[in-house]
């Protein structure tokens, strides 16, 4: 008994000593994120290295799965032991936390680095709430690129990238005739959803897109134009293979890599799959962000928020994180590993791949930037709309009924 007690005492003493020494480390920052895949952890390592070089001590806290990581962050904030910084998407996911006064702002860093000048408007609108900066953006992901296999296009006799939706459908027909699966498709609700985003933005146009997601305009949803868009979206279903339901996105990408399928509509994280298969943009595969030279560019991405902590050392660490994450050098190094593009356009793009360079060039044209739906609507409404889209895609529901369901969801949201 005494033996056990003394052992316990020893363990406690060691624990306290370790805890104490950890506290003594300069600018110790525990960063909670969900980047666990190969490419992702290589990318987050760039952030950690940059932070350590800037005089901080990075404590990595990775939790697989965005949902799990976000709920762990919220639970720890509620429980009173928050991490120094926690990852969220550039979206409305952290709005409730701001309302409840659970986040520190980083206005000091934002003012010092002119965030209001260098950051694109969709991101600014997402992180600047009531005049305060509550999150630091780390990347821009575009969730709806078109990726195509050059050999498959050649086999089907397609010589140029489609410039209009009609040309795109014609190309899909050619692929089908050549015995290739025209559209590599992963039939999971979130993939059906981003395909709908792409179709709405590129075929319906930015105006219709903003009327749905920003204005929640019931009249637009009831219009024949919107129903025509739904019908045209559903037309894509003719070009997927019977094995598509519940296919993972990377399995669909693999179909493009092997030339078994022609095109995939997917976010720029798909580049990681091509890179792993030793394929280069412009050589074995091609990418286009939409139809024609004026196509809109969906802006999504990741941010870190800073839980409310009063300890001045931790606040200092939070501000150092915000400074380091947004510096041009960190941004280029990180984007290269992550497959995203930098949050600022004043960086050296030579190190980036062809598709990312194209993305940075497009981002310089403000009129082409379009905020992703997560930035405009609540996670709740987004989920309801996702249910409607997946039902419409997978059943014989009419465009009329789907439009009615969307109108009803907008009213509830």
């Amino acid at each position: 008994m005494t033996m056990n007690a003394s052992r316990l005492g020893l363990a406690l003493a060691i624990g306290l000593a370790l805890g104490g020494s950890a506290h003594a480390q300069a600018n110790r920052a525990e960063v909670l994120h969900w980047w666990t895949s190969g490419g992702e952890s290589a990318a987050v390592k760039e952030l950690a290295n940059a932070y350590n070089q800037a005089g901080g001590t990075w404590v990595d806290s990775a939790i697989a799965g965005g949902e799990q990581a976000r709920s762990a962050a919220v639970n720890r904030m509620v429980g009173g032991t928050p991490p120094t910084a926690a990852q969220f998407n550039t979206s409305k996911q952290f709005l409730d936390l701001i309302d409840q006064g659970m986040l520190n702002n980083v206005d000091v860093v934002a003012a010092r680095n002119n965030w209001d000048k260098i950051l694109p408007a969709p991101i600014l609108n997402s992180i600047r709430i009531k005049g305060h900066f509550y999150a630091v953006p780390v990347d821009i992901h575009m969730p709806a690129w078109f990726w195509y296999s050059k050999p498959a296009f050649a086999k089907a006799g397609i010589t140029a990238e489609p410039k209009t939706p009609d040309e795109f459908f014609a190309d899909l027909d050619k692929l089908k005739a050549a015995g290739i699966v025209p559209l590599a498709f992963g039939g999971q609700p979130w993939q059906e959803k981003i395909t709908f985003y792409a179709w709405l933005a590129h075929v319906g146009g930015p105006d219709m897109y903003m009327k749905l997601y920003r204005d929640k305009d019931a009249a637009m949803v009831a219009s024949p134009q919107f129903k025509a868009l739904l019908t045209s979206f559903k037309r894509l279903h003719n070009y997927v293979d019977p094995g598509s339901p519940n296919r993972n996105w990377n399995d669909a990408t693999a179909m493009v890599i092997s030339g078994k399928a022609g095109v995939q509509i997917m976010g720029d994280w798909a580049k990681g799959e091509f890179a792993t298969a030793h394929q280069t943009a412009g050589k074995e595969f091609g990418c286009f962000p939409g139809f024609g030279p004026k196509s809109p560019y969906l802006v999504a991405g990741d941010v870190f928020v800073f839980p409310k902590i009063t300890d001045p050392a931790q606040v200092k660490a939070q501000q150092l994180l915000a400074t380091v994450f947004t510096s041009p050098a960190t941004q280029v190094a990180f984007s290269n590993k992550k497959g995203s593009i930098p949050i600022r356009t004043d960086v050296d793009v030579k190190a980036l791949d062809l598709c990312a360079q194209q993305g940075v060039a497009i981002m310089k044209d403000v009129s082409r930037q379009l905020p992703s739906p997560e930035m405009l609507i609540s996670p709740d409404l987004e989920g309801s709309l996702q249910d409607i889209i997946t039902k419409f895609w997978n059943t014989s529901e009419s465009a009329d009924d789907a439009a009615k369901a969307i109108a009803a969801a907008l009213k509830n949201g």
Binding site: G187, P189, P245, N246, K391, T395
Partner: protein
């Protein structure tokens, strides 16, 4: 050993039980009450203490996905429980014939239950996928018209899920039934053999009724897994294609974690709990009633003819 005073004995028993009682009261009952409280608030990402009446419940039953989830659970429940009980019983009877290699077979049948469905569900997903699994293999053998695509069909996907779930759970039912079968006195079989009663008739008229408690236990275990069915759906279809295989537990988790809607998720779990209670209450009542009656009968029997060798 000297007999202790009853009060002291009770005290010791209560002390031993105290941690468990506290756990039940605080963790289980407390969480249930807390969920019910949240379900009448407007909570989104974080719990909020306001009061909005039954708004979340109204929204819940307005939601097509929720009603569909309940229907899917009912369909799954009926098919799954009936198939598990039938197959589990037949497997037990088969093994009870003193077949050779009984130990090996028992392990094989029970093994699926020991494995996580997150892993085996993936294998099922691949096997049932029309382009990777069974269908494409058989077509590869030259039967070009062979079709087995239930997992991607709106109207058949639940059946595909039931197949995998039965595969996993029927071994457990077999083990329970086998224990029951082994508990049946050999003399019964001998008597039946002397009377020249065919074996199937003995199983149907004598053994089955005697296995009542085993069926009861299996039924309760299976029912619980029906209400909380989640992993098999997530591993095999993620609720798809479309919404065709959505289940209530997935609705709750989605709203809790992804859609930042704690209020709606709490309302859904409350409804689920009430449904289960409404289904189980009559059954518990009947069982309590039956056991009380059995006790009375036993007491009456003991009183009329005390068995030899037992002193009062």
């Amino acid at each position: 050993m000297s007999p202790r005073k009853p009060v002291f004995r009770h005290l010791v028993a209560w002390l031993a039980l105290a941690p468990m009682v506290a756990t039940v009261l605080w963790v289980y009952v407390g969480s249930v009450l807390w969920s019910m409280r949240i379900s009448v608030s407007s909570s989104r990402t974080l719990p909020i203490g306001d009061y909005v009446g039954l708004r979340q419940y109204a929204r819940l039953f307005d939601s097509e996905r929720w009603t569909l989830s309940l229907q899917n659970m009912a369909l799954f429940g009926v098919l799954f429980i009936v198939a598990c009980l039938a197959i589990g019983f037949l497997l037990a009877v088969f093994i009870d014939q003193r077949v050779r290699g009984e130990g090996v077979l028992r392990t094989i049948f029970l093994y699926p239950y020991a494995m996580s469905f997150v892993a085996t569900g993936l294998v099922w997903q691949w096997m049932l996928n029309p382009e990777l699994g069974l269908q494409s293999t058989v077509r590869g053998w030259g039967f070009a018209n062979f079709t087995f695509d239930w997992i991607v069909r709106q109207d058949a996907v639940m059946v595909a899920i039931v197949i995998a779930a039965v595969w996993q759970a029927c071994g457990l039912v077999m083990a329970l039934m086998l224990a029951g079968l082994r508990g049946i006195d050999e003399s019964l079989w001998m008597a039946a053999r002397i009377d020249g009663i065919p074996a199937w008739r003995v199983y149907a008229s004598i053994v089955l009724p005697m296995l009542g408690p085993s069926f009861g236990t299996a039924f309760v275990l299976l029912s619980v897994s029906v209400v909380k069915v989640f992993d098999v759906v997530v591993a095999m279809t993620q609720g798809g294609p479309g919404l065709a295989s959505e289940v209530p537990a997935k609705f709750i988790i989605d709203n809790l974690l992804v859609r930042a809607n704690i209020g709606l998720a709490s309302a859904a779990s409350t409804v689920l709990l009430l449904t289960v209670l409404a289904l189980l209450a009559p059954w518990f009542y009947a069982r309590a009633h039956a056991s009380r009656r059995a006790e009375r009968v036993a007491r009456a029997l003991r009183a009329s003819e005390p068995p030899p060798g037992v002193t009062a």
